[in-house]
């Protein structure tokens, strides 16, 4: 069984491997993200848990904020990331026991937000 922290870590890593994704940013609500940013700045935390997984009342929302390379059409990259998150999330439920209090049949929503389209060959993140 994996918890949502570990699942977020895996999803963050998987997104980074998608072609033309140049960065992943915190998708958590602003206060959590601010606390995380401070922790990163103080070198207390490696920014590898950036995908937000929110479960509430039969509804699961997975959110990711990304940067993409201008070398590929942005909609294609966003779709690839969305499909990856959906498929990986479902796969994780099939491969592991559901978490206490969660239901694998929860309604699922995947949010992918592109926050930056970078020049091809720009500094990677």
């Amino acid at each position: 069984m994996i918890d949502d922290l570990e699942l977020s870590r895996r999803l963050t890593s998987a997104i980074r491997a998608v072609p033309h994704v140049t960065g992943v940013y915190p998708a958590q609500p602003i206060l959590e993200a601010a606390a995380g940013a401070i922790a990163v700045r103080l070198a207390l935390r490696v920014p590898d848990v950036l995908v937000d997984i929110d479960r509430a009342e039969g509804f699961t929302t997975v959110s990711a904020h990304i940067a993409t390379s201008a070398a590929a059409p942005t909609p294609e990259t966003a779709r690839a990331v969305g499909e990856l998150l959906r498929d990986e999330f479902r796969r994780s439920h099939e491969a592991h026991d559901a978490l206490p209090g969660t239901d694998p049949n929860d309604t699922l929503a995947i949010n992918v937000k592109v926050r930056l389209v970078e020049d091809a060959g720009a500094f990677g993140g």
Binding site: A37, P75, V112, K113
Partner: protein, 197 residues
Amino acid sequence: MTLDDTALPEDDLDGHTMTELGDYLDRGRLPVDPSIENSAACRLALAGMTRIRELSWTALTRQSALDPQRDDTWITGLLDTIKGEIKSGRDVPISHSDPSLRLSLTEAAVRGIIRRAGDTTGGIVMGRSALEGDVTTRGAVIRIEVTASVEYGRSLAATADRLRDRIRAALDDHTELVVGEIDVTIDDVYFSEEPRS
């Protein structure tokens, strides 16, 4: 790069200031600062600042010699514009056949696409850009408004047409926006290394 702004962190820059980002660029982005590099807003601002530097260094140097006060005003205005463009703004939808996938670009990302298209046109330094209309509704026709500074000696009409084409092509590549008119206002002229005759 020297900037005349407050040293207080700004909410939209994830705790950083434009001055810090300018200093960071001056250091060649070394040592790598994760709190900057892992911030979409900071990287958006850095991209704009880098292009200003690359595109207009010669022009700035020349104009500095001619009229230092005007140069300060110009560069400060451009940086203020970039700072204003990093607010995420509205979500611009990207379609998908699976309704459980909600994909979007931020308005800031779209403004960044427009800025890059303009700044890579040649003979242009982009000013402000605005997306007018309902960008959150797929299929709605929107209007783009931009301002730009043009290199002295270039045809204003031809340069504006070229800029429109570049912006339209970039938005076609990277968004699903339905772009109607693109209003270009040339609000300044700058000199290259040698004025064109």
